[in-house]
Symmetry: C2
């Protein structure tokens, strides 16, 4: 076995959840001993930074049961099956959650991230959408979302003041702002 890392010797399904499946992994450590690791399997997700022609960014505010509070986030959603291209999902979630439509060619890849590498494989591909056109929201039955619009400077302040707490949103917006900022 690899002397520098734990090696998985078994994976047992514990529970099929609504959006994640729960596994227990039996790992062998380099010293030969065994330890159980949690593994949460997620089918992947996509998110999008919707940029209006004047540079302002469209955000969504919604109640999140897992943290029992409302959060300000970029639009995002799980893939319709693990095979759905993330760009298609980002394009769909943009219109469903914000009521703005972009042509597929105006949806550009920004970055990929894993939300919590210690125990979950959830990967989110994050895009930036331009040339937006107002249409209408199409929310899922369990989605209740308010749309809000902010300038990049306002979003930078909201991040630094701790008023945005969702990791994908902080990572996406601050990476977008860094990319936009002039080189030193």
């Amino acid at each position: 076995m690899n002397p520098d890392r734990p090696e998985r010797v078994d994976r047992t399904l514990i529970h099929n959840g609504a959006i994640v499946d729960i596994y227990q992994d039996k790992m062998q450590l380099p010293d030969g001993s065994f330890e159980n690791f949690d593994f949460i399997k997620h089918k992947g997700a996509a998110a999008v930074i919707p940029v209006l022609d004047d540079g302002r960014i469209i955000m969504v505010r919604q109640y999140r049961n897992a943290i029992d509070s409302y959060t300000l986030e970029i639009p995002a959603g799980g893939l319709n099956g693990a095979d759905e291209p993330t760009k298609v999902a980002a394009h769909r979630e943009l219109e469903e959650e914000t009521g703005y439509y972009a042509e597929m060619e105006d949806v550009e890849f920004l970055l990929s991230l894993y939300t919590t590498v210690a125990f979950c494989n959830e990967k989110i591909d994050i895009y930036v959408a331009h040339n937006l056109r107002k249409t209408a929201q199409h929310l899922d039955d369990d989605e209740f979302i308010d749309v809000e619009v902010y300038t990049p400077d306002e979003l930078k302040s909201l991040i630094l003041e701790g008023k945005i707490v969702d990791a994908k949103t902080i990572a996406a917006l601050s990476t977008y702002l860094l990319k936009m900022s002039p080189a030193d």
Copy 2:
């Protein structure tokens, strides 16, 4: 019930994991129907951006079973019980994972984030540590970590090139870099 959001009517424990506990939440939607939501309970974590006197930042590289690959991250770790102050945990993980010590007064709060609000309450408080002094790593039995050092410009490039994929690390570093950058 609140007409604008799902309301939790029951929470059932499914499994006590190694670092997370798995629940099934029964939610009532505003239309009166019921739906199951996943809820993953985590005790919380702390992370730290360790800044050397010359401005370079200490990073850790380690194998992550959940995504079956190696990641470049800021030092981080779970709390020793939900009551441990996150600053104490950040201070401890700094020395354990990197072999650098900081006085508690040189560990400064940067931001808090939730890693994946759709189904998990994991919150990470992220600090910045200065005036570091070399001591020695003290790794847990299941930790195998390489220490690497980068300039802020190198880390900005690694984020924009997609070579850093851990959400807390992207969020922490890009927020730190935004905060350091001159106002527009």
